[in-house]
Structure formats: C-alpha cells, structure tokens
Symmetry: C2
Subunit: 83 residues, 2 copies
C-alpha cells in the first residue's frame, strides 16, 4: 500500500528563529503589522510504500530522525493518509 | 481576536525540486528505499490579530502573496484557527 506523509519540521520554541524574526519585521513594512510571532520551518511531503499504516508510520519516524529533522534544534510532526 | 495560521509553501508540481531529489536519493542509503517522491517546501506558523476569521484570512492571503510565497514557483495553502 502507498501512503502519503505530510511532515512539518519546526525550530524548537527555545531556539531563536532569525528567519522568522526577519519576516515578522518585514510584515510591518508591508502594512501587515497585525501579523506577529512568525516562525519558519520546513514542510516535507513524501510517499511511503508499506504493508500497513503502522509500518508506514515507523518508516516516516525513521526518516525524520535520521535525515529530515535535526532533533537538537528542531521538532517534527506528521500525518499519514493512504495515497 | 487572535488567530493562529499554519501555512505550507511548496514548489509547484511542474518545478524541479533539487533538495527533494537529493533527499529521495539519500533515503536509499539509509535503508529507507520505500520512501520516494520527496518534495521540500516551507512551513510557516504565525499569529494574526483581526476582528473576525474572514479578516484574518485576508491578512494571511496578503502576507503569502506579498512576502511568503514566490507565486511563480511556489503555491501555498493554509489553515486558521482561533488562538
């Protein structure tokens, strides 16, 4: 079975996010000062071939831990659905 | 009212995604060859102060169009919920 995973990798709350800070600042110059607390991370979409949803879940966990997220600075969340 | 927006900005389907291609390749070396079609974009979370959800929606649309997404190469989706 094929599953589609949608993963968000975000900088941890305690970690400064300079890119997000810069964007927050730019919002003021664009007359969008109502927008604050911008944080920027990665969004990753991928396909997994697995026998069942639990196996697909495990594969995506491994991919996040080994490659996609730097667990010292980032945390990840994802959801899976059948493709 | 305060709203929290979660925005995904992804490279358009027709656009080559070299970062995603590189990650797809690396999956093989990590014994995760079941993972394919990796595409990598940005995930942005932010807060909007607005009178109602429609106004917040409009603000986030503007932010995406003016700053967060390059509409030539990227498309965006987002959802809003009250913070």
């Amino acid at each position: 079975m094929k599953f589609q995973a949608e993963i968000d990798v975000m900088p941890k709350k305690e970690i400064l996010d300079p890119q997000g800070k810069a964007v927050s600042g730019s919002m003021k110059n664009l007359d969008l000062s109502e927008i604050t607390h911008v944080r920027i991370g990665k969004h990753i979409s991928l396909e997994v071939e697995a026998d069942n949803e639990a196996a697909a879940h495990e594969k995506v966990e491994q991919a996040c831990k080994k490659l996609l997220a730097n667990l010292i600075m980032e945390s990840y969340t994802f959801n899976l659905h059948q493709a």
